[in-house]
Symmetry: C2
Subunit: 276 residues, 2 copies
């Protein structure tokens, strides 16, 4: 029940028609009597810098979920940018601190890491390969680094993107061992497809599946189908896998913590969501 005391969380992006967050957060808030609401706000790119600022001047504004096309520009609009967002080069959550300053962070990769941990696997001290150094690959790499991986292999068809991501990672995590230039999964504990390969029928696999160790934990960001051809091939080799939508739900408890709201498990959120 929205009132004048309800904490307002703007969901800022354009267009809004396919927004999922309100269908996940609001049923949870309602069920648990949490006085907060996620409200889609279709801010266009040309208006967004001004709108973000004025939104956070509303007395009942509590936070913002930021989505396409504003994730990158938001990194330059907040007062304090958390390292994960700085490395990812993108920001998908903003909160107002007590002194009015805006803090920005990035949780796409956090969702991936939490999913791995919750499936009983270790992240700290492991070797991880991230194939694809675009937005989501950068976010996952940043969160893997935060979670303490010992070594990160980065690969992108655009070699410069992987090099640049490696540079950003080692600036914040000087002890992290970063290698670039290869998508060979041999010897890695965690292997992630962060490319769009698998969205279209007939896409090649993102790496040489014959080189994938059976002991590897294999993750996927593509959500076009639950078990992508890459995940199916990994399962055939005996690998434990994580599907694309796991990342989506696993990151929500992280947002709730960031916004200082009562939290719950990803599974509970999934059970109460009204995605239809």
């Amino acid at each position: 029940m929205i009132s004048g005391k309800t904490k307002l969380i703007g969901h800022l992006g354009f267009p809004t028609e396919s927004f999922k967050a309100p269908l996940i957060y609001n049923p949870y808030f309602e069920r648990d009597g949490i006085d907060a609401v996620v409200v889609p706000m279709g801010s266009r790119a040309e208006d967004y810098p001004d709108f973000l600022k004025l939104f956070f001047r509303l007395s009942n504004a509590h936070g913002a979920l930021v989505t396409m096309p504003h994730k990158v520009v938001t990194t330059g609009l907040v007062d304090d940018l958390m390292p994960t967002a700085a490395i990812a080069g993108a920001c998908n959550a903003v909160r107002r601190e007590g002194d009015g300053r805006l803090t920005g962070d990035m949780f796409d990769g956090e969702g991936f890491v939490r999913g791995v941990l919750r499936k009983g696997r270790q992240v700290a001290g492991t070797r991880a390969l991230v194939v694809g150094a675009g937005g989501v690959g950068s976010a996952i790499s940043a969160s893997l680094a935060k979670a303490g991986v010992a070594e990160l292999g980065l690969f992108d068809m655009n070699g410069g993107a992987a090099e640049a991501l490696g540079g950003r990672l080692t600036r914040y995590y000087p002890a992290l061992k970063v290698s670039t230039g290869s998508n060979d999964p041999a010897g890695f504990d965690i292997v992630v497809n962060a490319t769009p390969l698998g969205m279209k029928p007939g896409d090649p696999l993102p790496l040489d599946i014959e080189r994938l160790p059976a002991s590897a934990f294999v993750g996927e960001v593509v959500m076009a189908q639950t078990i992508t051809p890459f995940l199916a091939a990994a399962q055939q080799r005996g690998c434990q896998v994580q599907v694309g939508t796991d990342m989506l739900f696993e990151q929500i408890p992280a947002y709730l913590e960031f916004f200082g709201l009562p939290t719950t498990t990803a599974d509970d959120l999934r059970s109460v969501a009204r995605l239809g």
Copy 2:
């Protein structure tokens, strides 16, 4: 259930804590499956002109309910101001037209008039006395004029305020007979207290009750108590009366029509509201 397709109606004012509109509109929208939501937005005076503009540039913005302290300044921020709002000198509803222009109107007085009509009384062709020419008195006068009263008596302790209101009324309704300078209710068909008298115990009545005809329909804007001393005195004289909160609920169907949303009766809205 809020989604990215839901029509967003901003409730713009500051502070927001005591806002009632979300508690009235949203339960109705939910019960009837109307895909719209009223969301409080605590915009401060210094931010409001910019915020109003940017709010209406949101792709899912449908309309705005405007309240304190923005009603007066809004008259200068819309592209097209309806006569009732121009006369009232205040605007409490804004909608975006197909071409992007903003239209502003004022429904406080419309709620009063609808309440009179729904109680089986006539407005067109009658003589009405409005005591108090401030914001709410101006709004009621403008709506009475729109509804076709033949004559309006206007009185305010500040004589200039009544004169100025009379001038605005006759600019839009040249055939309307306006008199100012007297709060004598003798000879009037509709008599309204639009002053704050009655909010505090011991307030004098707004007019000489001995001069009030039993045939008059008597209305009140004070909501501190349902039956104010003025209404009680009028009832004792045999007058039919309208309480302050009637105006509140009677105006909501008018807003719904203004916003192009399915409408219902004031009584139905009152029954579904969750004012607690």
